[in-house]
Symmetry: C2
Subunit: 494 residues, 2 copies
């Protein structure tokens, strides 16, 4: 079998990324069909005069993302239905294995919670507040150097209005970054720089208002998104989430819908949307003339395996609005995020951003653009990924040491994981309150920035945002939590 690939040595992209992208395109376009074999790596390497290792890496990523499978010595074949288990909570392999199965059976609604967004008051001593990044991880030295340099000229940028869509060099840096890390081929014009993810979600909602008759949202969901939807005068349909992400078989057959999803790390449950669900969601959008809001709030931190291709990358920017933020990856105090809009909406989005707030502050935008372009961002992410991975591992190890076979979800990526409490334990909110009295902040979904639209869910999920806590603090807090739970249980049994 010949593969119609075109490799460019002069491209910005690595050769392995070019091979991966093009083979994936052939599969998604149906030109490479299920059961067909890929040429052996040695042959492909010879044909394109690249190192064999380059081809091996590309194939490995195709296997990891479930597009192809290796069948012993007979070769590599396009999969029948892309297997989802590789895309699911794959976790740290050795930990996962002893954890038993993923929280719920595929196809079974995992959770939905009643509650309202919380947080904000005086913080506990050891606080697993969700979505908080490590203050010590901020790149102070580099940032200070860039900012000081930018302020040392006497430019007109501080007194002028910038392009409302954002500083051109930042938009370009973001587009390049998304191409490298998320499989998205987007132009600078499609990027609108915003005040964090929240502003981007509003931008998309405002942009879609005239195109939308119906709102759909994964349930439970991120409270920030639910607030935006609830402010609209449109019917809202919550769609349940299970261990493969949003249940695409429960999508309403309503035309001109707008749906909100967090495919990389579902908020709050942490599950990863499987490839087959991703494709089903895109098909549904096409069939119903609907649009998708993909909130990719923390996918920079993936601890195991390569990053998954974003929905927006699979869709090639026709029906997916992609929302990203630098709040988790660099710092929430910068208030910088972005939306990637389908090409036909880019002019409208720019005008809309002008109407909303007329752009973002120049200094932060310019500093971030340099930070990304000069390679600091990639290094920063690599460093933080190590740091957060150690903290996550410490948390999982501590939970396993003190509790029997804890069922954990969402540990693959991001800044938080969820512990599904075993039967017989008090509910999450009760534990939250007892722990709070002892100076420890752990959160029931209803207090952890999650929202539930239909109030039918169990209450046994405890959220841990671990990124801002040292390993020692994490171990100490789990010891205390264990003591609290033991005291509650013996009080209950008396």
């Amino acid at each position: 079998m010949e593969l119609a690939l075109t490799l460019h040595a002069s491209s910005d992209k690595s050769l392995q990324a070019q091979i991966f992208d093009q083979v994936r395109s052939l599969i998604l376009d149906g030109r490479l069909q299920a059961g067909m074999s890929l040429p052996p790596t040695r042959l492909l390497a010879e044909r394109f005069q690249v190192s064999r290792n380059t081809v091996v890496i590309a194939y490995e990523r195709l296997v990891a993302e479930g597009y192809v499978e290796a069948r012993g010595t007979s070769g590599v074949f396009v999969t029948e239905i892309p297997p989802d288990d590789l895309l699911l909570i794959s976790g740290p392999r050795e930990l996962l294995r002893s954890n038993g199965p993923v929280p719920a059976q595929a196809g079974e609604p995992l959770l939905c919670f009643a509650g309202s967004p919380g947080g904000g008051e005086d913080r506990p001593t050891i606080d697993f507040w969700v979505g908080r990044s490590a203050a010590s991880g901020f790149p102070f030295r580099v940032w200070r150097r860039i900012a000081t340099k930018l302020l040392s000229g006497e430019s007109q940028y501080l007194t002028d209005y910038c392009d409302p869509a954002g500083l051109p060099q930042l938009r370009k840096a973001i587009a390049d970054h998304l191409g490298r890390t998320r499989g998205m081929q987007v132009t600078t014009e499609q990027i609108i720089v915003t005040a964090g993810g929240q502003d981007a979600l509003n931008l998309v909602m405002n942009l879609m208002r005239g195109h939308t008759e119906h709102l759909c949202i994964e349930n439970p969901c991120y409270a920030g998104a639910s607030m935006i939807f609830q402010a609209e005068q449109l019917p809202i349909e919550p769609v349940p989430v299970d261990s493969e992400g949003i249940r695409t078989d429960s999508l309403p057959n309503k035309r001109r819908s707008l749906i909100y999803v967090t495919p990389s790390h579902q908020y709050p449950t942490g599950v990863v949307m499987s490839l087959s669900r991703r494709l089903a969601l895109l098909r549904w959008a096409d069939e119903t003339d609907s649009y998708i809001m993909e909130d990719d709030y923390d996918s920079d931190f993936r601890y195991d395996g390569p990053p998954l291709t974003a929905l927006s990358g699979l869709d090639r920017g026709r029906r997916v609005f992609y929302v990203g933020t630098f709040s988790k990856s660099v710092g929430a105090g910068l208030r910088l995020g972005f939306a990637v809009v389908p090409r036909i909406f880019s002019d409208d989005a720019r005008m809309l951003k002008a109407r909303m707030s007329n752009g973002q502050s120049w200094l932060e935008q310019c500093a971030l653009a340099e930070f990304i372009s000069d390679g600091h961002f990639d290094r920063h992410i690599r460093k933080l990924r190590q740091l957060y991975k150690s903290r996550r591992d410490a948390l999982i190890t501590a939970l396993r040491k003190r509790f029997r076979d804890p069922v954990i979800s969402g540990q693959d990526s991001g800044l938080h994981l969820v512990w599904r409490l075993p039967k017989g334990m008090p509910n999450a909110l009760t534990i939250q309150m007892k722990a709070r009295a002892a100076g420890i902040g752990v959160y029931a979904l209803s207090s952890g920035g999650a929202f539930d639209f239909d109030g039918t869910a169990p209450d046994d999920m405890l959220m841990f945002g671990y990124a801002s806590l040292t390993e020692n603090k994490i171990v100490e807090s789990i010891e205390k939590l264990h003591a609290i739970l033991r005291a509650m249980s013996s009080a209950g049994s008396r």
Copy 2:
């Protein structure tokens, strides 16, 4: 006549400001009625054991703002109807006198223009682009020092979410500043920090959506505000503007309205809303259960006389939402502004801001808070006021030198003025295009960020934003403009 005043030596406010505020309150509350006399300054000074000069300054400001009048040697009396001419285009006295009357008769609609927002493309060599401040006026040295200091600590502020309503110290600094300069008694809780004025206008619109059945707007108006109103599903009533500001006799008798006005320096015409109109507008709001959006975009730069009390100051924060910005006074590249909301809306406004963008960037907010609190802001404004006044004077002098008795409005304050072209001249848009071809940017209202809702207006207003241009450039451009107009006129007469 005894005055019920209570002066506090320990107050943040000067004694003269306390006297001014309290006497004004007594007048507005009706406890001091028209025709009543104020005690002689000597008696009041003795009674409160303050220097007589303190009382004199307070009385002078009351006279200047039209609350009282001096009648020769018989004393100082509360005015029958607050005289408006002191609040109108008072201009540089000597220039105004030879300019003749203000552009239009009071009570006669001054203007309304058809057009759409403009600007953005390649700029002309000498550009009177409206609302642009002087890049050289930015306080680079101080700002750099503050920013570098803030970045030199390794604080958690860059990685944490701040209060969505804004940094507390900035909100306090703004509240204090408004008390000192705009006669507004507001608490920190009423201030919501925003991304410039535009974000603040959106905040108010979103906040008022459930309370509003009808939108009113001065006409012509600021295009940024018209865009926000037009995006709503509500009827819009344009209200004409004359030389006293919005025509309050044309306000619709519609309950639960929201009205947008720019009382300090009407955009685009530059006229100042008279005190009687201000009071009439507040009465209308009370009678119709309506709210007012007061956009005070450039009142920091008032060249003659004391600043006028804001509508919000007269109202005491019940029906007026006040919108301010640092885009003109410090720099648009900071993207910082604020809304002052009536007390009962402060919690809702904070929640709404969280939903909209979850706050502003920490560094800019913190730097600005220090800049204001340490007194730099007041010094900066004083310095720029001198600079801009010289530029404005150069422009007026140049216009007067080359054109006979030019009729000018809006020259008292802000960063732009309007020249109403004499009869027989081509219209403003024609001149704009001819000037543009010669590298000079002057603007018809339709190109200068103004919008007209009913398209009935004359087209003889030419806008000049003078703040960013040196006196030499200004003189040079008016010479060129004169030559262009002469050439057009001789071509036309052939």
